[in-house]
């Protein structure tokens, strides 16, 4: 009997269950305010997944960084930089798409590694280092793009424009598969989730990330390579930013140097709502998935009901607090 009670108690208090509670509440709200049945159509859920996938990819990297005890404010800017570079490579330069993808991933990873190096080697606070990278990467994005969106309208030397075709890879990434029921960007998001899970749970470096998040000094004394682990965490965050930037560019058919503003806050909110602790050392990529879905459904429900901007912001703030309190109250 005691054993049964313990198992039951354990299930009720598990982080995943608490995170699911918030998502369930959002779902019930969606059922109640279904906007003439729009909420019951699969297309609405598919569109929600598409819209939230770019944020979700950023949140994968953010999860690793937060579990390591840090924070990454530069994700939105790196997304913009890689979106601009990807558009520049594929639309303007006509570079082979796979070379362009590799190039952009290298750029994003390099940004992340630089942040990680400053944090690990020079002991700069994570939010100061990534704040600097946030500003720097945004500046590079504007410089590379000349302040303009990089699109299929290519400016000639005399100021006139020549219009080129949309690259095939843009159409591929923007397309839908499995009978038009799921978008490729959502598949990419799921792949990123899987990669994050593998890294955090199946590889030694994942355990190192949890270790330094839990107690950095104890980890160091236990022989964990603290500096390299941090660089890895931020490097992975940068890599996922590049993937998100490529998806953003493909969906918009352009590279916008202004893209990604405040995306870091959305990514952090998704991680936190999912239940990963900002103190580090605890959390899971599946909690982040629940956080992504919670915020995604919240935004979609507000959108299909055409809720005004003022009420949207108030409701979003209130529900974020409610979701976090819901989790704490059950401990």
């Amino acid at each position: 009997m005691k054993k049964t009670a313990n198992l039951s108690n354990s299930w009720l208090t598990s982080p995943v269950t608490r995170a699911m509670g918030a998502l369930l509440i959002i779902f019930v709200i969606g059922l109640l305010f279904n906007a003439d049945g729009a909420f019951f159509k699969w297309g609405t859920h598919r569109d929600m997944l598409r819209a939230v996938s770019v944020y979700g990819i950023l949140a994968c990297g953010m999860t690793m960084v937060i579990i390591s005890g840090g924070i990454d404010l530069s994700v939105g800017s790196i997304l913009a930089l890689t979106a601009v570079c990807f558009s520049l490579f594929t639309i303007h330069k006509g570079i082979n798409p796979f070379v362009a993808v590799i190039g952009c991933i290298c750029i994003g990873t390099l940004c992340g590694v630089c942040s990680g190096a400053f944090i690990a080697r020079f002991k700069i606070q994570p939010f100061i280092a990534t704040l600097a990278m946030m500003v720097f990467a945004r500046g590079v994005a504007k410089w590379v793009s000349g302040g303009q969106k990089i699109s299929t309208a290519v400016q000639q030397a005399d100021g006139s424009y020549k219009y080129v075709d949309v690259p095939a890879i843009f159409n591929s990434i923007s397309s839908k598969i499995m009978g038009n029921n799921i978008t490729v960007v959502t598949i990419i998001f799921l792949v990123c989730l899987l990669i994050s899970w593998l890294l955090l749970v199946k590889l030694r470096y994942g355990r190192y990330i949890y270790a330094i998040g839990g107690n950095e000094e104890a980890a160091r004394l236990s022989g964990v390579p603290v500096a390299m682990t941090k660089i890895l965490a931020y490097g992975m965050s940068g890599l996922f930013c590049a993937v998100a930037g490529i998806c953003q560019a493909a969906q918009e058919l352009q590279g916008d140097p202004e893209a990604g503003v405040a995306y870091e806050l959305s990514a952090i909110a998704m991680v936190v709502i999912g239940g990963t602790s900002l103190q580090g050392g605890k959390g899971s990529i599946w909690l982040t998935l629940i956080g992504v879905l919670t915020i995604g459904y919240l935004e979609k429900i507000l959108s299909i009901n055409a809720v005004g901007e003022d009420k949207r912001l108030m409701l979003t703030g209130a529900i974020i607090i409610a979701a976090v309190l819901l989790q704490k109250s059950k401990k």
């Binding site: 729009a38 704040l131 969906q251 959108s303």
Partner: protein
């Protein structure tokens, strides 16, 4: 203790994230020595926000026009969508003693006093595309958003034959351009009872937002005849959403601004049915500046005409809107 640290850190994140966007990006006036040998007059260009493609183009138009006049040098400053910063930059121009100022104010009321200060100091001020309160300025150059919204509304009434279901994607309702494009449009369709606005949301000028909102409209309404977006990026985002839903051929997409690389490109590619030009006025502002600097009189208000771009007339350079 740990919770306090968390609270402080999270607050710091929010504060710093906000501060980060306002990192100073001031361009110093040209070196006095270089200016003296190179240009006869210095013009200060105070731009409210280079984060918008329209304003990047506006600055580019000013620069292109200025290059035709070797005797002038233009110094550009970007307020990054920050009213207080634009005030400070205006004060920098005044202190530097520029010969003339061109300003595209972010907001009317907060920039009015500093424009008046410039006038008091004998520096002519050309107001570009957005206005200030009152008439203490040298010359206004710009187009008329309400008129453009009205023209769009008339075109829509005619295109739909006075009947249809319309989605309106607003720009950013705290800004005068969006308010005027909305007001002009609503006024133009007022007499047509058959036109129904079934979905009306704010997409904040951004294409990703427009796409999301349009996805919601498509999920909710089986029939949508037309989308009126306050800018071309919004119309394009709506088009992409409709295309993904396989409904882009049943819907007419209307945008405003008609930049060469955006609205005109979309019309040429057949994505939008029409785009209404909202000219930057950069060239006209420089021409007015030359008149002023050469001691000539210019009109108090110069309203620039707009063109309408459709599939039929895009290759001929569009068609002027009638008054």
């Amino acid at each position: 203790m740990k919770k306090l640290f968390l609270l402080i850190m999270f607050s710091a994140v929010l504060i710093l994230a906000g501060c980060a966007k306002k990192t100073p990006q001031t361009t110093a006036p040209g070196q006095p020595g270089a200016a003296e040998t190179k240009a006869k007059w210095i013009i200060g260009m105070s731009q409210c926000n280079l984060g918008e493609p329209y304003r990047v183009q506006q600055n580019a138009d000013v620069k292109m026009a200025a290059e035709q006049h070797p005797e002038i040098e233009v110094v550009f400053k970007d307020a990054q969508n920050d009213t207080l910063r634009q005030q400070a930059q205006m004060e920098e121009f005044i202190s530097a003693g520029v010969n003339l100022i061109i300003i595209s104010p972010k907001e009317a009321a907060p920039l009015t006093p500093v424009v008046a200060t410039a006038i008091d100091k004998g520096i002519p001020v050309i107001i570009l595309d957005r206005k200030v309160v009152g008439d203490k300025y040298t010359c206004f150059v710009g187009a008329d958003n309400t008129k453009i919204g009205k023209a769009a509304g008339k075109w829509i009434v005619e295109k739909l034959g006075g009947k249809g279901k319309v989605v309106e994607l607003r720009g950013l309702m705290t800004t005068p351009p969006a308010q005027e494009r909305h007001a002009g449009f609503r006024e133009a369709i007022k007499g047509s009872n058959g036109i129904e606005i079934i979905f009306d949301v704010d997409m904040k000028w951004l294409e990703p937002n427009a796409r999301k909102e349009m996805e919601s409209a498509l999920a909710r309404f089986p029939q949508i005849d037309l989308v009126y977006a306050h800018n071309d990026a919004g119309a394009h985002g709506a088009y992409l959403a409709a295309q993904a839903a396989g409904r882009e051929k049943d819907i007419i997409f209307v945008g405003i601004d008609a930049l060469q690389q955006e609205g005109q490109a979309y019309v040429k590619q057949g994505l939008l049915s029409v785009s209404f030009e909202y000219p930057t006025g950069g060239k006209e502002a420089v021409e007015a500046a030359m008149e002023i600097l050469n001691g000539k009189t210019v009109p108090k208000d110069i309203t620039i005409k707009s063109r309408i771009f459709t599939k039929e007339n895009i290759d001929a350079g569009g068609e002027w809107l009638s008054e």
